[in-house]
Symmetry: D4
């Protein structure tokens, strides 16, 4: 299977503009090692790679991975730095949501897209958001990461004209219901035209933003 | 049963400060008529009394009811006008939530408590709320009525120091889930100390506000 | 309330590019009439306006509404025809989903955006989709409307590089669960970067598409 | 992030009367340490601080924390003892709910509010509640902590006129559903005017009680 | 089918002590008529027979039915009056639950078992229950009918030693969830040994009580 | 708290016929030890006492506990052997349900009630049940323990006239939903008069059986 | 759309062996009429065609439809009678499930497959099933239609070696949850190898049976 | 219990064609050992046997087990190799679903049925499926294993005429809901006649396939 996975990268990039990301959660060290060894000179985006899993890899492979622990993401092989002006803003409600927003930022960086990151602007402290809103709303696309009641995408959606991609998070307990409350809340935002991805799916939000920037194919 | 219901009023008012409200939904015209006829000179609060149900009552009884169709509520018998300064504000997100906020306002009026009503200040149009927030936050108690994503109680909870009673509403379709999304969203508001009542329960929110104003008994 | 609603249009259009749409479901004829009479020379988008509700309006108002029964939508006042090349494709799985896809198409038309509509290309008859896929994938944005198992957005998401906005629909019975199965299915599509709006929310999908096309503000 | 968190305290206290509480669950020892070191002479309320997490802190920091293991709460820095007459009673159904009621009591103590705590008065042993009810009902606010069927707030709500804040708990298995049964049960109490906070949220109940006591701002 | 249904009665009564009850909900007048005509001299218990359905039957059949509208139940043919001392008490929380408790009482009457009925003793007015508890607890079996938070079976279960059969009801809206809140609440009562039947199933509670009184077979 | 728990035993036994059972799950060794030491010469029923928790107790206390690992139950102090003829049968569908049926059997034994235990008679191997049914149905009360689809109570309920107490279990994965499928399935059994207790609650089923055998109080 | 639907029939039959069935629920008389008129000499299977919808069709069309009201199904055009030996048995638990089992039988008849129908053999009256089981188990495929607790497929699955297709039905109230209890119960049957279709989907069960009989294509 | 389990094998095989499979999850090493020792010369299928559990068995027993770690399955005793032409294809969407599809393949192998296994043909890379579809659709029965949105069974169901058995898997997070999204999605596939087994139940799908191949008994 691994061989086929790696081979498919090129076709997929040509067709959709995406490499096949390696979701590392649930994969054994041996399995990850095989994938990385066969990748050869290709670059790969690794998601949900816990620090322990990263540490358990052989040094030779680790040295080729640009690892970021908060987002639990790794860039394998050569990945250039983002260039140009940021067209995407990533806005985060609470500090515990940053693990998700950073996954979005890292995915964008992997594909060379710079992004503005604004953290800790949940609506319970509205003036913090207000101080930054003029800067935020200039971006074509705003990824709004928020758990709990997910009020952030609604407030931004009423202030900014660009595409708003809500990422509900699973932060919290009880009526949070593992993120479903934030998910449903984002889907029924009274601000018109908010779109939503799966709970905690920073990677998916970044892919959607890239799709929106690139547009259709031929 | 009816006889006992009516008899109980006095004890209940003495103990809790509340008359027994008559929930009219699901009661036949004959049943309502019997209740009203036995009430005699007592006043009664009628909730969820649909316009058709009100119209189907005998003229003699209708003439003794102060009926308000939006909240579907009626005051039977003599109910004095509220007096004094409003200590409670009722704030509503969307126009379709007003049927619920009016039920709260009418319940307060029945018990003589004046309230400030502020409508149509959902967070998707944040400046509308901001224009009124200084006035709103001066009140001891704020009843925040909001369906959909119920972002309103969170935003107010971050701006006002008083008791915030969130009333989720069932307005909408799909991921609204009959109001459960707003209910859960209110329960996990990131603003500290928001309290919540059942979906569409304007009556319950008003009773809670009255409890908070009156305090304990002897 | 109505007066304020109408007044707000101009501010909202300036800020977000959207007029306030009038959700007609649950509004009485009298209420709708008042809204339309005060709109004056302004144009309005009416959604979820059932045929009976439309018919119950006075002739003078009806004559100013361009009504389309399948989508239950109306354009009040002067709305110009869409011009330019379509950048948005609206693709529909089953014939019973067309009520939703037409709502998206009509919303786009209201704002002057032409769209390609492709119907009845559910994946149970895969060749029907394959005959049209080259045409579809050239569009910057693809709105994929599908109920039941919502397999359509996944298949398109694997073939087309643009932004895919999935609209789950409530069509069906039993395990369809009022559209929640399609909703969750769209959210966990294995194709990367699919975004989702509320069940049956063609209007929201169109607004999201317009946001993506217009980008940020100043 | 940490720096901003700490800076915000003063503004928040001025506006709402609350410091920013530090929810310690899910935070690493290193992270907690940084927060406490930067707090300096400020006092902080620490919630959900497990005994192991407390023990893993450096001695110098531990010595400045007044830690209480049952509620898993800590007071960092100087926190004065509550003074005055208790206006709040905290009433608990079962012994396994005390972890939650103590969190409420500790939060009140942090803000200087004395409270009466009455434990183990679940309604399955009704006379235990009856022995204490006259004392309980004299309080302006009653926090009723109960899991399982959450019958306690209903019974108290029928006997006491003050504000009843129900805190459902997650105690139990099977149909307990992680506390949702107690949550829904509290929301539909037949006693009028019960308000509810999130499952196991003793902290939130205390904040609500403080809001009710302090009233509005200027 | 009808013929077989009727034939089976005798075997069933011999084996289990129950006739086959005819659940009338969803059956056409023609269907009901056929069942009754073939019953001949046999007696039958009719449940969920709405007043309109009863009225639509031919006079000859109606005259042979002892119909009770509150419980929507009918006795067809000769059914003797209950005799002996009541070993079963049926206790009801709210007036809207009486439709369910009466179904239990009528089922018991059909099988000749007298029962004590006590209504309107919900725990929000605890003293009403306390006035009757000594009388109630003398019975071997107590059927406790309660919707909303279903606190009644818990309170009784802590005061009475006999078998408590809880019947949750669907009364109410929002977090009532069609009776599931009362159902789950009854299942997790902190009083030991409460048993539960389906929502609104007064018939089933009565059958269970009869099973408990009669004991095993040979 | 512990002191009060122990003191209450005598009152409770007098009123309801039950001692207060000690649910050991979630209690620390220190806590359990204190409870047992204060019990003195009283006997106690310990439920959900895992083998590790039992082993961690001091030898002096362990020697006074009759521990049974499958049911995770212990009898502390002197508990006499059951005597007389069994009036209760405990019937179990699958081998993984025996942990629950043994809890019921042990609870009955603690209170001196003998019971017939029949295991491994799930309906997928119907002849195994049929070989034992004549013996089973002679009992006044049948506790039917079954997970998965919980078909066992329905089949027995159609064959035996006594009281059937269904205990749904949490055995299995996926659509088992932690036992909720068995719970709901038991509640809607087509056999008349089945009653149900919480998932995995063998203790509760035994208490209900004891209530049914003893009848009302004075 | 209609034209395309009809045209597709031939391709679909060649590929899968199925015509496109017309689900009539939710289609207007005008829409149905157009479909039937364009079908010409082709035969069509009509499902969920309510008696009123059938009656509202023009006489010329009605006369060409073989309508069966219990299953709400119609055969349009010439459909030959089933021939050969029945390889499929359709077994039904309760009389209210027959509307679903008949839909399966009618679908099989439309495709020329004879089937044995056995009704009213729910497991609460086990001997009724036992009298027929030898006849039933000789069939290659058994469609087991059952609502409520859906115990029937489990019992049959333990007695018969052929393919068991369970069809859960929505019959009942409360914990029936619109058929989800029967659905989940069927999915976790302890008999090995039971397969399941959507709630009330007699049509789907018949299609599955036909697939199993015909096997693969070329 | 163990003795009875083993004895039953022969009857069951005669009646249904299945041995009793040993579900090893949740069984202790001692328990497994006893089962295997008593099996003697009989062969047994072991499912959900984790590598650690396998390793903990005595060498003498391990040497008699053909263990396969991916499917966590073991053949105990002599199991002949499958012979003949494959009539069953097992098709898998993602690499993380292979643990389930291999369980199906191993179960078939245990009973001597050869099967074609095709992996990694999820619909997000449609051409991978298309390359293999002609080979796949020649099989009488297709087991389609897919998690997430479970679009695979729908696409195959529209292309292949044989029996399609969908196996939803629990792969993923958030809106995956432990596999329920894939389960519901499979149940409402728009391709006619798809049947479904429990989440992750590869064993059950194989049993169903064997039932379909063998047909009825005598």
């Amino acid at each position: 299977m691994v061989e086929r996975d790696i081979k498919l990268d090129h076709e997929r990039r040509a067709r959709l503009g995406f490499d096949e990301a390696i979701l590392c959660a649930g994969k054994s060290t041996a399995h990850l090692r095989k994938i990385l060894e066969r990748a050869g000179a290709d670059s790969l985006l690794l998601t949900r790679l816990e620090a322990e899993a990263f540490e358990s890899l052989p040094t030779a492979l680790k040295s080729r991975i640009d690892y970021e622990p908060l987002s639990r993401s790794g860039f394998f092989g050569h990945v250039g730095a983002p260039t140009g002006t940021a067209e995407i803003a990533i806005v985060t409600a609470g500090t515990s949501d940053i693990r998700v927003s950073r996954e979005a930022a890292r995915t964008l960086a992997y594909y060379g897209a710079p992004a503005l990151e604004v953290s800790d602007v949940g609506v319970a402290g509205l003036w913090r958001l207000m101080e930054r809103i003029d800067e935020i709303k200039r971006h074509k696309i705003i990824i709004a990461v928020a758990g709990m009641d997910a009020a952030l995408p609604s407030v931004i959606g009423g202030l900014a004209p660009g595409l708003i991609i809500a990422v509900p998070t699973s932060t919290g307990y009880g009526a949070v219901r593992g993120g479903e409350t934030a998910l449903f809340s984002s889907l029924v935002s009274c601000a018109p035209g908010i779109v939503v991805v799966n709970i905690d799916n920073g990677y998916g939000a970044a892919c959607a933003a890239l799709r929106a920037l690139r547009g259709g194919g031929t």
